[in-house]
């Protein structure tokens, strides 16, 4: 079973990050306009990269292990045995509720893994899957 981060989820997270950059740039622009413009440009580039990185996130199960793959150029592949997952938390902000996406946190052996912008329905299905795997 394969779950991926959808475009709207990735866009929402990237937009929230960009909005934070806009806020910081606006505060800086009151005194240092050139620095604010540079910070904003950099921030927007990072937001775009974040959007691309999030789009390439996928979660699947194989041999009683949860696999999470992230990234396009700097790739990260995480493997967690399902029976050792201690908890899975779904976090929703009001904006997330509007777009029906969520942040999904998996707690396992000494590590917390965060998946941003996952569909709420997918996250619930993943949670059920992990509960079944643990039982």
């Amino acid at each position: 079973m394969l779950f991926t981060v959808q475009k709207k989820g990735a866009a929402l997270v990237a937009c929230q990050f960009a909005a934070l950059g806009l806020l910081i740039a606006a505060i800086l622009a009151l005194r240092f306009f050139a620095i604010a413009a540079t910070v904003l440009c950099l921030w927007l580039v990072i937001s775009l990269l974040l959007y691309v990185r999030l789009l390439h996130c996928k979660i699947y199960t194989q041999n009683h292990t949860l696999h999470i793959e992230k990234g396009l150029y700097f790739t990260v592949h995480i493997e967690i045995p399902i029976c050792f997952i201690t908890s899975g938390n779904i976090i929703e902000t009001p904006l997330c509720r509007v777009f029906k996406v969520c942040y999904y946190v998996i707690h396992s052996s000494g590590k917390a893994t965060l998946v941003l912008g996952l569909n709420k329905a997918d996250a619930l299905q993943l949670l059920t899957l992990m509960c079944k795997g643990n039982s």
């Binding site: 041999n63 990260v76 592949h77 493997e79 045995p81 201690t86 396992s108 052996s109 590590k111």
Partner: protein, 459 residues
């Protein structure tokens, strides 16, 4: 509440110690200024603070308690919103009983419990009367006999003391102590310490090159302090294994007893340090559940005599397995840090030789340390790797700074993270990060990507 037994009164020590700090600071300031009016005012304030805090502490102590069930320990704490925690005995990985001097004077023990899994709380502590703590420990992790298998004596004791000495911890301890002393006394204790070190450096200055005496004095003092702490810690040290429990006891001033549930041991770390290489004895550190035993080794062994090792930890396979060699391992990935520091200090040394010859010997010391780190890094380039042994344990070898770690992971509760950047992806290698239940992260560099992706740690 009748079913609950009360903790030892030292349970309230954490409330009283803050009150004592609040009391001592204004009193000392008045004493140093020799202002008697201020001193009497401070004493009156202290009396009120102490009485209030004692009352609060007594209330907390009165309403806190514990009771033992067939399979659980119930602990209750809190005044307005009491919280009851149930601790199943089978969820306990490590049980630690410590008896510092103050607790021994009050016939009390501090019982600290470390859990197997990543619970909301990783550990919890109780203050109990000595006999009650011992009885509770026997109920939680029962042992039948106390026949010591590893009890270093004579030269072995000296070797074990040297292996246990941790200069980094001692340095941190000294700096924290000086910082706290400054807070209490209100003037710099560091200046007093430096003036004392200068006396020592004057003594050894005739035997050392100019400028090196002060640094060597500090290093000597730190090493001596580390050895002294280690000597106190390893006094009467013994290790035994019984009923699936590994027990480590020892300590001169602070008596410590640790009981490890062997089935919960997540990893054994054999640290090959510079001293270990010289003495040909290797200390073993145990990671068990949420317990990270970084402060002291469980025991030490030599390659010639592994009988004790196989008796105490038969699960541990300590040998150099044939680590899978990566297709294209990059040496710069291993040596860049040591090499850059070596180049930096070499450049500084050349500049010092030309411009300030008097300080060149001071810069020679970091060059020697960088060379040592470089040698260890090169060893890491040759040896670092990961493999799954026939008994399903994971053997890992990695280096960090001056130490080589030979790790044997006994648990399957391991999360794996493979990391690749564009260059390593094109060369077909990756870095593996292993996450243990004790929140320890182990990095193995330069592993073949196809081998890492097909690792079946969990079966």
């Amino acid at each position: 509440m009748a079913e609950y037994k009360r903790f030892h009164f030292l349970y309230s020590i954490k409330y009283i110690k803050y009150a004592l700090i609040l009391c001592v600071v204004p009193m000392l300031r008045a004493l140093i200024a020799f202002d008697l009016d201020s001193l009497f005012l401070a004493l009156r304030q202290d009396a009120v603070i102490l009485v209030l805090m004692l009352l609060l502490a007594a209330l907390f102590w009165y309403y806190a308690g514990y009771k033992t069930g067939d399979e659980c320990l119930y602990a209750r704490s809190g005044l307005l919103c009491p919280v009851t925690t149930a601790i199943p005995y089978n969820s306990i990985a490590v049980l630690e009983i410590t008896r510092p001097l103050l607790l021994r004077l009050c016939a009390a023990s501090k019982l600290k419990i470390y859990f197997k899994n990543n619970f909301a709380m990783r550990s919890c502590s109780f203050y109990l009367p000595r006999k009650t703590a011992a009885a509770l420990a026997d109920r939680m992790l029962p042992v039948k006999t106390n026949h010591a298998i590893f009890a270093p004596a004579g030269a072995n004791r000296l070797v074990f003391t040297m292996l246990s000495a941790n200069i980094a911890t001692s340095t941190f301890f000294i700096f924290t102590f000086i910082h706290r002393l400054d807070e209490v006394l209100g003037h710099s204790s560091a200046d007093i310490a430096i003036s004392r070190i200068e006396h020592l450096s004057k003594l050894i200055a005739p035997f050392l090159p100019a400028g090196l005496a002060f640094i060597m004095s500090i290093l000597f003092l730190l090493f001596a302090f580390g050895l002294f702490l280690s000597f106190l810690h390893t006094a009467g040290f013994s290790v035994c294994r019984n009923n699936g429990i590994l027990i480590c006891r020892g300590g001169l001033i602070t008596h410590t007893e640790r009981r490890f549930r062997c089935s919960s041991i997540s990893a054994c770390d054999v640290r090959v340090t510079f001293i270990a290489r010289l003495l040909r004895r290797y200390p073993i550190f145990i990671y068990c559940g949420s317990y990270t035993g970084n402060d002291a080794p469980a025991f030490a062994f030599s390659r010639r005599d592994t009988a004790q090792l196989s008796t105490l930890l038969p699960e541990l396979v300590w040998q150099c397995p044939p680590y899978k060699a990566p297709r294209a391992r990059s040496i710069m990935q291993y040596i860049w840090l040591a090499l850059s520091s070596l180049l930096l200090f070499s450049a500084l040394f050349i500049v010092a030789c030309l411009q300030m010859p008097s300080v060149r010997i001071i810069i020679a010391l970091p060059i020697i340390l960088s060379c040592a780190a470089l040698l260890v890094s090169i060893e890491g380039y040759g040896r670092e790797g990961l493999t799954i042994m026939p008994n399903r344990t994971i053997a890992v070898c990695y280096t960090s700074f001056f130490t080589r770690h030979d790790l044997c992971i006994l648990t399957q509760d391991v999360s794996l993270l493979l990391w690749q950047h564009p260059v390593s992806a094109s060369e077909g290698r990756c870095d593996i990060y292993l996450y243990l239940p004790c929140h320890k992260k182990v990095r193995v560099r330069g592993v073949q990507a196809y081998y890492a992706k097909n690792l079946t740690l969990f079966s």
